[in-house]
């Protein structure tokens, strides 16, 4: 397929743009086929949070999430991208409802995949009950969509990571792609330290935080299926790869997931650190893994071969 001139420039931009540093809108602009994005309830609609003014906090016109429809290599996709710099990308009432509505439409259509660009600290505290409920509704909507044959893919590589309820939604997705800056967890490092003490979790030990929650570990553990370099182009290719790989969802998948997780617990439940897990996986000089460039890491991860391929 010959590339048209108008397509080369966006691809080059995508290749040279850090996914981690880009805004949600830039990520979508460069991830999708040029000019294909149509936004649902865009900022000019001014559907802001009704709850932030109680706390004297500024609103954002899109409430921190961009949802809509576009094309990936000519094929339709629904997309949602969280803006991790607005209130930590956290789920509020309006923010969550935009994603819930998107997933419900996807369930009804059945044939269009949903790509979620997670960048979230979890529930927005100022709207804690609404945010938590939104996440619960999204989890339900993801599973209903998957049961209707929809592929739901998560891309994780933003500055807020994928924490709290976001981590649970990610765990409901058909498959995940993650980059080195990405993190996936339920409790944040500071919260664990506050609750259990610095001996249990030193939130300022960046290397340990990344070994425990970061993209490389999640890939090696099989918590994510594909590892992407930190460019929008790499995430675009990861999304395409995952859309091609994902199979049907059914009860057998859940049973396989039970086996997969129980086996993980059995094999690694006594490990004290990720280094121990990586060593147990047969990686020599496991402590050098964080220094590996992306292409070498990807080759290593594929050799270890843990994915959720028939499970999840």
């Amino acid at each position: 397929m010959t590339a048209l001139l108008k397509d080369i420039v966006p691809a080059e931009r995508a290749r040279s743009t850090s996914f981690n540093e880009a805004s949600a809108r830039t990520r979508l602009e460069l991830l999708l086929d040029a000019g294909s994005f149509v936004e649902f309830i865009g900022p000019e609609q001014r559907e802001i949070s009704p709850h932030l003014k109680i706390f004297d906090l500024p609103e954002q016109y899109d409430d921190g999430i961009v949802v809509g429809h576009g094309h990936l290599d000519g094929a339709p996709v629904f997309v949602a991208a969280q803006e991790g710099r607005f209130m930590g990308g956290a789920f509020g009432e309006v923010h969550g409802a935009k994603l819930t509505g998107l997933l419900r439409a996807a369930r009804e259509i059945g044939s269009i995949p949903v790509v979620i660009l997670f960048d979230t600290g979890g529930v927005r505290l100022q709207e804690a009950n609404a945010g938590e409920l939104a996440i619960a509704e999204i989890m339900r909507a993801v599973m209903e969509a998957r049961s209707a044959g929809v592929k739901v893919i998560g891309l994780i590589g933003g500055r807020s990571g994928c924490y709290g309820g976001g981590g649970l939604i990610a765990g409901c997705c058909s498959a995940l792609a993650v980059s080195e800056p990405g993190r996936i967890a339920v409790s944040g490092p500071e919260v664990i330290e506050t609750n259990r003490g610095v001996e249990e979790f030193d939130s300022r030990d960046r290397a340990m935080v990344w070994r425990t929650m970061g993209g490389q570990h999640r890939r090696l553990l099989g918590a994510a299926d594909v590892f992407a370099d930190d460019t929008v182009q790499d995430f675009r290719e990861a999304a395409l790869e995952l859309i091609g790989l994902i199979g049907a969802f059914d009860l057998d998948r859940l049973k396989a997931e039970q086996v997969r997780l129980a086996e993980r617990l059995r094999r690694f439940g006594a490990c004290g650190d990720a280094i121990d897990i990586w060593t147990a996986e047969g990686i020599a000089h496991a402590e050098t893994v964080p220094e590996l460039p992306a292409d070498q890491f990807i080759a290593l991860a594929n050799k270890i071969g843990r994915t959720s391929r028939d499970a999840r």
Partner: protein, 240 residues
């Protein structure tokens, strides 16, 4: 009410439900004659990878073997906060528990959550909020985030937060707030036998469609969620 009181009131003819280190599992026969799988978290136990995998295992075994509704009893702490749990992928274990409950509910095994104690954050998402209908007992104290932690993060005093909480149900802990939000369907009475209230609920169960946002709008707890979701859905369905 203690867990034993609750079980005795739910199943006056007896039950085969045990509590093993905070993990509730077993079954009971309903007045109607059918069986009910009962799982849950007791004694304000934190929900970690070890507990979650056991609970999801019980649900999956039951999907193969049994029929009838599933009851999820909740008196938990938040998710377990530890290096080990996160290292092993706690998000997947909790998501998996939610997924098996949702799958059961979508395939002929209606799920009812009964919040009788505490719960918070990720633990609540994986248990009570993953059921079709969540019921509360008076005295239950669910929280998404506790006020002292909120005070620390928002840099407001607890008094200031308490004051704001008087004018909105959107952030503060509590059963009535979650009821107003649409998360809690109803609050049972602890002055009447629970068996009868359970029977009444089973006889009049809502459909499997998630209507919590509509409920939240009706109860003025979430003024925008239902409408925003419907508008996005409509726009998405219009794409040629």
């Amino acid at each position: 009410m203690t867990l034993d009181d609750i079980l005795a009131s739910l199943f006056p003819d007896g039950h085969q439900i045990g509590n093993d280190g905070g993990v509730i599992a077993g079954a009971a026969t309903l007045r109607s004659g059918g069986r009910m799988l009962v799982i849950g978290v007791a004694d304000r136990t934190a929900l970690g990878v070890d507990e979650a995998i056991i609970l999801s295992g019980h649900v999956l075994e039951s999907i193969d073997r049994d029929a009838g509704p599933i009851l999820v009893l909740v008196d938990s702490d938040s998710q377990r906060m530890s290096k080990r749990d996160e290292l092993l992928g706690l998000n997947e274990f909790l998501a998996h528990l939610a997924k098996v409950l949702i799958h059961a509910d979508m395939h002929g095994r209606p799920t009812i959550g009964l919040l009788y104690g505490h719960s918070a954050a990720g633990a609540l998402l994986a248990t009570g909020l993953a059921t079709r209908v969540l019921v509360g007992l008076p005295g239950a104290e669910p929280a998404v985030m506790d006020l002292p932690s909120m005070a620390k993060v928002t840099k407001l005093s607890i008094e200031a937060l308490d004051e704001k909480a008087k004018s909105t149900p959107v952030f503060a802990p509590g059963l009535s707030n979650l009821e107003q939000m649409g998360a809690v369907h109803m609050i049972w009475s602890d002055a009447a036998p629970l068996a009868g209230q359970l029977e009444a609920l089973l006889a009049d169960l809502p459909t499997a469609r998630d209507q919590r946002d509509a409920l939240g709008k009706e109860r003025c707890g979430r003024p925008k969620a239902a409408d925003i979701a419907e508008r996005v859905r409509d726009l998405a369905l219009q794409i040629p």
